[in-house]
Amino acid sequence: MACVDRRLDDTLILARTAEGEACLVGRIAAGDRLAFEALYRAYFPRLGRFLQRMTRSSALIEEIVNDTLLAVWRKAATFDGSSKVSTWIFAIAYRRACKALQAVDEPVEAGGDEREGLDADRPDWQFERQRLAHAVDAALAALPLAQRTAFQLTFYHDMSYPEIAEIMECPVNTIKTRLFHARKRLAVLLDGQLEGRP
């Protein structure tokens, strides 16, 4: 068992770089379950954070992540390396999420409201930071899905605009415009909370 864990740890290291991920996908195409598990463990939290902005249902998030990675397992042989592995996987997840959300017709709630009052009067910086995070969370939830997706792929998944355009299947200028409008809207929703901070 310890041996398997060590092999898994070694394989997990591969998931830290783009080249390593491509290597994992190659091994998955050959039916390597260990490589699949390593990729799964690397992407579960990333996709979870991504999907969390689309649905608050943990069960639905798990279902979409599993659907996505099952597609990766089955289609690994078709991955040609023309894009990054992350772009490929996020594109699958985005399509599956759109389909799943359409099917359940689930409204995306503004998150964080119930957390607002917890630390109401703590003036320390840690709290300020946390409060801003909650405010950003709630403001993001108010954006249209397309703007929110482009925003979070940029800021919380560090993707370039060509990658985001590939994931969302639209021209790069559309991505730029979506993000421009998302920023304007967030500035209004956050109403000066981003000004005058270090």
Binding site: F36, Y40, R41, S58, R74, V136, S160, R197
Partner: protein, 229 residues
């Protein structure tokens, strides 16, 4: 740099700022945006706000259970992949009611309807643009004085004492019909399907006819009285 160039550089920088903030901007675009930022306090302030936004997220990790989800998925890896046909059919909701299919937002039949409309519009446009030459002449409306309508008509005068019955007989025998008249000078206008000159000759053969001349066609020989100086 002109004012227009400066405005364009500012617009470009504004759109590129998110990717400058996440470090994925590269090449000449990166150089241009960085150069613009050196002289633009507004863009620098926006970039600072974007760094703050970036630091504020991502939100708390979801309560999803990695181990549980992975345990559910692993047995599915051995299951055969669904056949391609059902997979492609999957996006189309099966057995939808006719009300749903007729809904205005159903793209499938909307595309067909829009295509048919385009076809009808194209046919109507073609009819509108078609040259008018194809219309049958026989059906066209003509006034008596119109040039083509006057073709084959003659002018004829009768002796003043010719009875109306005799007048009708002469006209019918000559193969013509009365198209108008009498005019103030007592002349009648006749129409004919035949050659006006032949009809005029037949008419002149009648003692009751004092004048019979075709109005159109090759110019008839001028009456002897008119040819005199």
């Amino acid at each position: 740099m002109s004012q227009v160039d400066a405005r364009a550089a500012h617009a470009e920088a504004q759109q590129a700022l998110p990717w400058l903030a996440n470090g994925t901007l590269a090449g000449t675009e990166l150089e241009r945006v960085q150069a613009h930022l050196q002289g633009c306090a507004a863009c620098r302030a926006d970039l600072a706000a974007l760094h703050l936004l970036r630091a504020a997220g991502p939100g708390p990790a979801p309560g999803a259970d990695l181990e549980g989800a992975l345990a559910r998925l692993l047995p599915q890896l051995d299951a055969p992949a669904p056949a391609p046909a059902p997979a492609t059919a999957a996006p189309l909701p099966p057995a939808r009611g006719w009300r749903a299919r007729l809904a205005a937002n159903d793209a499938r039949w909307l595309r067909v309807a829009a295509g048919l409309q385009c076809g009808v519009i194209a046919v109507l446009a073609a009819l509108l643009l078609r040259p008018a030459g194809g219309a049958p002449e026989d059906g066209a409306y003509r006034v008596l004085g119109a040039e083509r309508g006057a073709q084959g008509t003659l002018v004829v005068t009768f002796r003043p004492d010719t009875p109306e019955r005799e007048l009708r007989r002469i006209v019918l025998d000559s193969g013509a019909h009365i198209a108008g008249g009498p005019t103030v000078t007592g002349a009648w206008l006749l129409g004919t399907a035949g050659a006006p000159a032949t009809v005029a000759a037949r008419l002149r053969a009648q003692p009751a006819v004092t004048l019979a001349e075709p109005l159109a066609g090759p110019p008839a020989a001028p009456p002897s009285a008119e040819g005199r100086p």
